[in-house]
């Protein structure tokens, strides 16, 4: 915890820079001025956007409120910020689904989770019983964007409820 607006997290900003000397430096200035800690810069030279700009991905670590300030000051400095947020899939979420997993189309369930809950499945273990009528269990390991485990869980609950599946979830992040 820090007293500067929440826990320090990694944030990714995607910038589009005009191909001119000094552009990158100009873009990075507001970040350090606002107290963001630069972790990495991915400068895709030669890979131009449809509008002829150079896409740059910058990873910054700072508290969420400070991050908002950074994005604001970037925009004020005239830098084109195309995507900003805690965009990294760097948090893990493990849940167990219980119910008629196979009958309710497991692959569809997983697809829904990946798209609606905005999580990517990294590992699946299925334990199906012998009889068809019994319930089976699946353990899902998901990567989620940092700070979004709560939202992802809520979506997951919705998707599961539609198929009458039970979600055994971990305790909320704050309590682990």
């Amino acid at each position: 915890m820090s007293d500067t607006g929440g826990e320090v997290q990694t944030h990714t900003v995607r910038l589009e820079l005009v191909d001119e000397p000094g552009e990158l430096l100009r873009a990075l200035e507001p970040i350090s001025e606002a107290g963001g800690n630069l972790l990495s810069i991915y400068h895709e030279r030669g890979n131009l956007t449809p509008r002829g700009h150079i896409p740059v991905e910058v990873d910054i670590s700072c508290a969420p409120t400070r991050f908002e300030t950074i994005v604001e000051s970037l925009r004020e400095a005239g830098v084109n910020v195309v995507q900003a947020g805690s965009e990294r899939y760097d948090e893990e979420l493990v849940v167990i689904l219980v119910g008629h997993l196979v009958d309710t189309d497991l692959s569809d369930t997983l697809k829904q989770i990946e798209s609606c809950a905005d999580a990517s499945l990294t590992d699946l273990s299925l334990s199906a019983p012998r009889g068809r009528d019994e319930t089976s269990s699946a353990r899902l390991r998901l990567k989620t964007r940092s700070g979004t485990n709560g939202d992802a869980l809520a979506k997951l609950q919705e998707i599961a409820a539609d198929k009458e599946l039970q979600v055994i979830q971990p305790l909320t992040e704050a309590s682990q």
């Binding site: 493990v94 849940v95 167990i96 219980v98 273990s125 334990s127 199906a128 019983p129 019994e134 319930t135 089976s136 269990s137 699946a138 353990r139 390991r141 039970q166 055994i168 979830q169 971990p170 305790l171 909320t172 704050a174 309590s175």
Partner: protein, 319 residues
């Protein structure tokens, strides 16, 4: 005042233990009632004889239960069955005690979980006070710890507060047995009741976490069972526990209380973490504002265990 005169309502596992242990704590039982009978003696009832009569004849004496509530005592001990909704007969017992300016100690969760605001109003108009340590986690001093810290210094409480559900889940995990099998075993051992609904559907745990939320909210908000999101353990297959174990985890029926809300349900917890207690043990974690996390565990149920909490409350009221 040192010793208190007690009126004990309810002569089940808890009430009987209170009657049996009161003297050891320096208190005198002047009345005992069950559902159909009572014994009243301003000089103190003969505890042994009363307990003997209860087990031989099913009654505690010749008097009417109303005579007990109206008799001479300092503290009324409410140990009748926990009921939902109107929380009767417990609520009326507490009301009568407070209206007579007596202190009341509850083991009965019903009134504290379902009609907390009304209880506090009755208390405000009375010379008497209420305490209810025994309603949450039996012998474990959870409420008195919260009281010591002050509710505003505790941001959340979570943990395992139902020994029956915990016994079932930990046996399922350890032995690879299914729910029905372990439930039957628990019933044979007397760990689960013939009708285990309250325990396995999470209702008993939810009542306790509702009480915790009421205490943590400290009058800002009132909770009842209806406000709690409750899931039980009856649908958990052995395969789910196997999958959890493969990943270094296990499943426990965990409740969470914050000043904003209450939930109870099966949750994944680290297999070697503090929340994965085994058998009928209970544990509560308190999240404090300045002192990190407190873990308190122990026996959450049983006659003598619960009576211990009741009698500690009595001593706090009169010492």
């Amino acid at each position: 005042m040192s010793g208190a005169r007690l009126c004990v309502l309810g002569a089940g596992a808890v009430g009987r233990s209170v009657v049996e242990l009161a003297e050891e704590y320096g208190h005198t039982v002047t009345a005992v009632a069950d559902s159909s009978s009572a014994v009243v003696d301003p000089d103190g009832v003969d505890a042994e004889a009363v307990l003997q009569r209860k087990s031989d004849e099913g009654v505690v004496g010749e008097a009417d239960p109303d005579d007990a509530v109206g008799g001479a005592y300092d503290v009324l001990v409410e140990a009748t069955p926990t009921t939902l909704g109107d929380a009767e007969p417990g609520f009326s017992h507490v009301k009568q005690g407070l209206e007579r300016d007596k202190h009341v100690v509850l083991a009965n969760k019903g009134p504290v979980a379902e009609r907390y605001g009304e209880l506090r109003e009755l208390e405000a108009d009375s010379e008497g006070k209420i305490r209810f340590e025994a309603t949450v986690g039996g012998a474990i001093p959870i409420l008195s710890t919260i009281e010591d810290f002050g509710p505003t210094h505790i941001t959340a409480a979570r943990g395992v507060l139902n020994g029956t559900a915990n016994f079932i889940l930990s046996r399922m995990a350890a032995e690879g047995l299914d729910y029905e099998h372990v439930l039957a075993e628990a019933q044979d051992l007397g760990v689960a009741e013939a009708d285990p609904t309250f325990d396995v559907e999470g209702i008993d745990a939810a009542l306790k976490f509702v009480i915790l939320s009421n205490v943590l909210a400290d009058g800002d908000q009132e909770f009842t069972l209806e406000d709690a999101v409750v899931d039980g353990i009856t649908d958990i297959p052995g395969t789910a526990l196997d999958l959890a174990a493969e990943d270094g985890r296990t499943i426990r029926l965990i409740g969470e209380s914050t000043p904003e809300g209450v939930s109870v349900g099966p949750r994944l917890v680290p297999a070697d973490g503090p929340l994965s207690v085994t058998g009928t043990l209970n544990i509560v974690q308190l999240e404090t504002t300045h002192a990190g996390r407190l873990n308190i565990s122990g026996r959450g149920a049983g006659g003598p265990e619960t009576a211990t909490a009741v009698l500690s409350d009595v001593s706090r009221l009169v010492d």
